[in-house]
C-alpha cells in the first residue's frame, strides 16, 4: 500500500493538488464565503483524475503485483491526506487571522468566520463530495466529468445552505460564529461532530468505490 501511495504522489497528482492547498490563505480575504476554499480541493481531485486517465495509470497499476481493490483505496487515501492538510491549514491560518486582526475585521459578512466551525463545515463539504464523486468515478474511471459536475453542484448548494444558516439561525450567527475563544466548547463539539461525519462519509465512499472498481473492465 505504501508503494502505491508513493506511486500516486510521484506520478498521478496534478500540481494543483499542492497549489490549491495554499488557497487556505483566502481566509484573510474580508467578507468572503470561506467554504469556497474547499471547492478548490475538489477541483484538484478532478484534475488529478484527469491526469490519471491521460497517463493510463489505472491499466498500468492493475498489472502491478497488487490487488485490484488497492488501487481506489490508495488513490482515496492520498486524497484524504490532502483534504486533512487543507482542513488543518484553514484552521491554523484562521486562528492566526484571529490573533493578528482586530475582532471587528475577523467577523465575516459573507458567511461564517474563519474559525473551528468553518473547518467542520469544510469537512462536511469534502465528505459529501467524496461520497458523490468517488463511487461514481470508480464505476467508470474514463468518465470524470459527470461525477465532478454532480459533486460540484451539491457542494455549491451546501455552501449556499451554510450561508443561509449563518444569517437565519442564532446557532450559526452567534454561538458558532466569531472568534475561536468565544463559545469554544460549542465550536469544538460542532467541529468534532462534523469531523466524525466526514470520516463516516469518506469510509462509505471508499467501501463503495472499491466494490464498484472490482467490476470495471479495463
Amino acid at each position: 500500500m505504501l508503494n502505491l501511495i508513493k506511486k500516486e504522489l510521484r506520478l498521478c497528482l496534478h500540481p494543483t493538488a499542492f497549489i490549491f492547498l495554499f488557497f487556505a490563505v483566502l481566509v484573510f480575504v474580508p467578507n468572503y464565503p470561506y467554504e469556497v476554499i474547499f471547492f478548490f480541493s475538489c477541483l484538484s481531485i478532478f484534475f488529478s483524475c484527469m491526469m490519471t486517465r491521460e497517463n493510463g495509470d489505472i491499466a498500468f497499476s492493475c498489472a502491478l503485483p497488487i490487488k485490484k481493490e488497492h488501487i481506489p483505496f490508495a488513490k482515496m487515501l492520498v486524497v484524504f491526506g490532502l483534504q486533512c492538510i487543507i482542513l488543518l491549514l484553514v484552521g491554523i491560518i484562521g486562528a492566526i487571522k484571529g490573533v493578528v486582526l482586530p475582532a471587528e475585521q475577523y467577523v465575516n459578512q459573507a458567511g461564517i468566520s474563519a474559525n473551528l466551525v468553518l473547518v467542520g463545515n469544510g469537512a462536511i463539504l469534502l465528505g459529501i463530495f467524496n461520497l458523490i464523486f468517488f463511487p461514481c468515478y470508480f464505476k467508470n474511471p474514463d468518465k470524470i466529468g459527470v461525477p465532478f459536475i454532480v459533486g460540484a453542484i451539491v457542494i455549491f448548494l451546501l455552501i449556499g445552505v451554510f450561508i443561509v444558516l449563518r444569517w437565519a439561525t442564532p446557532l450559526y450567527s452567534t454561538t458558532l460564529n466569531g472568534l475561536n475563544y468565544e463559545n469554544t466548547g460549542a465550536k469544538s463539539v460542532a467541529l468534532a461532530i462534523e469531523i466524525v461525519v466526514y470520516g463516516v462519509l469518506s469510509a462509505v465512499s471508499c467501501e463503495l468505490s472499491m466494490k464498484n472498481f472490482q467490476k470495471v473492465d479495463l
Binding site: K7, R10, L11, E54, N55, A59, A63, L64, P65, D217
Partner: protein
C-alpha cells in the same frame, strides 16, 4: 510444469464472446497468440491478467492466479503494446515508482538492459520512438526477474528492422534466461521467426493450439481449376484467386495428381480457416 495454463476462459460482451478459451504455454517456449483484428487476442490477455473480469481458471507455474495473485504477478512481465503510460514523465521517475513493487528488482540488470537497448533514463516517454517504448517496457518487465512474459501486440507499429531486433531480444531471453513468452500478434512473419507454438483464435474461439511445426504440417495449400474441383475434395475455405481457386487440404489426405499442392504458410492457413469459419457461421445463421 507449464509456464501458463488457461482453462475455459469465458467473457461475454453484448456483441462478442470469448468462448471457453483453453491453452498452455510450455516452460521456455514462445507461444504466439494469433488471429485477425477483433478475434479476441487482447481480451484473452486481459482476462489472463484479470484486467477484465472473466470466468475460467488461469495458473502460472502451477499457482492459481486468483488464489495467489500477488505471487503470480511477481512472476509475470506484462508488455501491453509499447509503453503507453505517463507520456510526460521521465523513464527514471517511472522506474522509481515501479521498482519498489518488486522485492526481486535488480537495478544492475535494469541498467544493463538500458545500455543494451540504448535507453536514456532522463528522457520522457513521449520522446521515445515506438520501438524504444517496447524496449523500455521489456527492461522493466525483465529487471524484476519475470519468468513469464505476456505481451499484447508488441510489434505492431514497429518498422521491419525494429521488429527484427525485438525478435532477436526475445529469442536471446528465452535461450539465455529460460523465460517463457506468450505474445499476441497478427504479423505472421514474427511468428515464423521465433514462435515454438501457436494459439490461433477466431471469433473468440480457439481453432488451434499446437506447435508451429504441427500446424504447418497439418495442411497443404491446393490450387483448383474450378470451384467444382475444390468442392469434390471438400477443400477448406475455398476462395477465388488469380488463376482459379485456392483452398486448404489436410496433409494426410490422398491428393489426386491433377491438383497442385504446395506447403501452406501461416498466412495461408489463417486466411482459409477464417474463410471456412465465416462460411460455417453464415450457414448456421441461415
Amino acid at each position: 510444469m507449464n509456464a501458463l495454463e488457461v482453462r475455459e476462459l469465458t467473457k461475454v460482451y453484448p456483441e462478442f464472446k470469448l468462448d471457453k478459451v483453453s491453452f498452455c504455454v510450455e516452460q521456455g517456449h514462445i507461444s504466439g497468440l494469433i488471429g485477425r483484428n477483433g478475434a479476441g487476442k487482447s481480451t484473452t490477455i486481459k482476462s489472463i491478467l484479470r484486467l477484465i473480469s472473466a470466468e475460467g481458471n488461469v495458473s502460472v507455474f502451477g499457482k492459481d492466479f486468483l488464489k495467489e495473485e500477488m505471487t503470480v504477478k511477481q512472476m509475470i512481465g506484462y508488455v501491453g503494446g509499447g509503453f503507453q503510460y505517463y507520456p510526460m514523465n521521465t523513464l527514471a521517475a517511472i522506474r522509481k515508482a515501479y521498482a519498489p513493487f518488486y522485492p526481486s528488482w535488480n537495478q544492475s540488470r535494469y541498467e544493463k538492459f538500458l545500455s543494451q537497448f540504448e535507453l536514456i533514463e532522463s528522457k520522457k516517454v513521449k520522446e521515445l520512438s515506438e520501438g524504444m517504448k517496447v524496449k523500455f517496457a521489456l527492461a522493466l518487465a525483465l529487471s524484476h526477474g519475470a519468468k513469464l512474459l505476456i505481451m499484447d501486440e508488441p510489434t505492431s507499429g514497429l518498422d521491419p528492422l525494429s521488429r527484427e531486433e525485438f525478435c532477436d531480444i526475445i529469442l536471446q531471453l528465452v535461450r539465455k534466461e529460460g523465460v517463457s513468452v506468450l505474445f499476441s500478434t497478427h504479423i505472421t512473419s514474427d511468428l515464423m521467426r521465433i514462435a515454438d507454438d501457436i494459439v490461433y483464435i477466431s471469433q473468440g474461439k480457439i481453432l488451434a493450439a499446437c506447435s508451429l511445426k504441427e500446424l504447418l504440417c497439418k495442411y497443404k495449400l491446393a490450387q483448383f481449376a474450378s470451384l467444382a474441383d475444390a468442392s469434390a475434395v471438400n477443400a477448406i475455405g475455398v476462395k477465388a484467386v488469380k488463376e482459379g481457386f485456392e483452398g486448404l487440404l489436410p496433409s494426410d489426405m490422398q491428393i489426386s495428381e491433377n491438383i497442385t499442392v504446395t506447403d501452406a504458410t501461416i498466412d495461408n492457413i489463417i486466411v482459409h480457416l477464417e474463410k471456412a469459419n465465416e462460411e460455417k457461421k453464415h450457414v448456421e445463421s441461415d
